[in-house]
Amino acid sequence: MEFLKISKAQFQLSVGRMIDENFVYGVKAKSPSYEFDRLFTADELCLNYNITLLSPNKYFLPPRTPLMGFKLDGKISVDSMVGAQPGIIIGIHPYDLHALKLLDAVFLGNLKDAYYQARRQVIAIIGIDCLQPWQYSFAASMGTAFPPAGFDLWLTDTGDKYLIEVGSEKGEELCRKYLDASEAGEIEVKQREKLREESLSRYKLSLDISPQLIPEVLNSGWNSSMWEELGEKCFSCGSCTMVCPTCVCFDVRDTTELNRLSGERYRIWDSCMFDAFATIASGENFRPTGTDRLRHRLYRKGKYMLQRWGRLGCVGCGRCIHACLVDIASPVYAYNRLAREARTG
């Protein structure tokens, strides 16, 4: 493991050099929130943010991905749209990198999704520790407060400097090309440990059980009255899933030019919370109520994704808690309550 350090002023100059030569995406203040967006100048980058509206996964699984173009003149002519613009993302928080690892398991598992793979291969990741979590986060109790392997560079804000952990060859190359960083020693690494340790006490929400036990409490909680209680308030608006960094479901649709000569097939984010998500052509809806859909979402996050792809579908970012208009989307509330109900019978 290689550690470097760089002053914040120097880092900003480095970001400017990256922007000169690359597509660089970073966190920008977008009142009242923050959002990942293309950077045009280094001073737009805001690394002391608490949460972004959407996770940076939108660069790997965009809300709308063209799958193919075609002509309608009787013959199928399918043009490949697989490809990606190389770039650098700056400012990914640990929980969002955990979520990206789940996307890797989904889209680079048995079947390789060429669209996802192309983006994943050419977009570098520079992350940063989340030392000041927002009030909705419960990442500490989900085990996602610190980054997993898989970043190129990782920053820790140590005051007037950033400590940098180099995570890959691509990261090394970025350092060589753009960063005037000096070697960091044991003191700085110890300091990072202390900062991380201290950040854990700042989380306001926490899961009362080990995350590994979530599937177990779900196993006993299918018939809990909680589902009806929460589900009957649901607007089926899908906000909880749109902001979720591990939501991967999509619809496949066609669109044509107005002249009806050519068109495009694309996939677009969809939501299991929408009322028609499980409806078949004959009109039968296999998840007809808000209760059915809310329960499915929380089982998927807490059990099914773990079974199928080896990782929990909740990283504790808290975005869904904040996004829900009627305060029913919280996974930490649901899992804690089911755990309590399981204990008390």
Binding site: L67, M68, F70, K71, L72, G74, K75, I76, V78, S80, V82, G83, A84, Q85, P86, V106, F107, L111, K112, D113, A114, Y115, Q117, A118, Q121, V122, W222, V248, C249, F250, D251, V252, R253, D254, T256, R260, G263, R265, R267, D270, C272, F277, A278, T279, I280, A281, S282, E284, F286, R287, D292, H296, Y299, R300, K303, Y304, Q307, R308
Partner: protein, 281 residues
């Protein structure tokens, strides 16, 4: 500086020619198709394909013919959505797109030497037809064959010619029924829902596997009758309809609990289905 990946997209349909279009009724058409690259589809009875009309979209359709019938394959399609309505406007010689085959299909090797009880409700006949054709083409490999075929009314019974040919064979028993028979309609068979055929069948439960496809509402009652006859839960095999949009286990639309119908189904045995909480049978 766009990075082009060479790996083929899982979403690209294969050009497929309509070689025959036969109306089955006012609402259903039988399409005979052949892949333009000359290959067979290499499917297993009970699998499905994504049918693609560029500019309109894709729809999951079960394959209605057996791979033993040659390189061409058949899809029987009721016009209910945008894609299937667009399909109904096509002519022989037109080209559509096909992805697949997808899904597990019927457990063909497990069914060898078994007595088979096919139970088809309405257009549930379409996916079962692929297996029935297979069984009849490979007849010595299987035991006794019974087909129960129920429709709402006589006009909805399809594939008359084929049924007639099967009826003439002495190695398969066909029993059909309609829920109701409007006055002045010609009908010689049973009248009543499909479960009313059960008392009339003679099976050896230990030797018998039931294969079921029909409207969702039918399953509960048919499974109950099969269990009453003494057929083991593992030997009651059902083909489910869900909204498979991608066919490759990604889009999420066809999920039942943790099962992806497009990968783990569409064929499930009842012992497995019973464990899925979202299935109420």
């Amino acid at each position: 500086m766009i990075n082009k990946s060479n790996s083929e997209s899982l979403y690209f349909p294969r050009p497929t020619k309509l070689i025959d279009v036969t109306a089955l009724s006012e609402r259903e058409i039988l399409f005979r198709l052949r892949l333009e690259d000359g290959n067979a589809l290499y499917h297993i009875p009970g699998q499905f394909v994504e049918v693609s009309i560029l500019g309109t979209g894709e729809a999951p359709i079960s394959i209605a013919s057996s791979p033993t019938q040659g390189d061409a394959f058949e899809l029987a399609i009721r016009a209910v959505g945008n894609v299937t309505q667009a399909l109904h406007r096509l002519q022989p010689g037109d080209t559509i797109g096909i992805r697949g085959p997808f899904g597990n299909g019927f457990p063909v090797s497990e069914l060898k030497d078994r007595d088979l009880l096919f139970i088809a409700g309405g257009i549930g006949f379409f996916p079962l037809r692929s297996m029935i054709q297979y069984v009849l083409d490979m007849r010595p490999l299987f035991g006794k064959i019974i087909l129960l075929y129920g429709c709402r009314q006589p006009a909805e019974q399809l594939f008359h010619q084929e049924l007639k040919e099967w009826r003439e064979r002495d190695d398969v028993l066909i029993m059909d029924t309609v829920d109701r028979c409007p006055p002045e309609t010609e009908w010689e068979g049973n009248v009543g829902v499909i479960t009313t055929l059960f008392p009339g069948i003679n099976i050896l439960p230990a030797r018998t596997t039931a294969l079921v496809a029909g409207p969702p509402v039918m399953y509960r009652y048919v499974v109950a009758e099969c269990l009453k006859k003494g057929i083991a839960k593992e030997r009651i095999i059902l083909s489910l309809e869900r909204r498979m949009k991608c066919g490759i286990g990604l889009c999420g639309h066809c999920q039942i609990d943790n099962a992806y119908v497009c990968l783990d189904g569409p064929v499930f045995n009842y012992a497995k289905l019973e464990q899925l909480k979202e299935v109420e049978l």
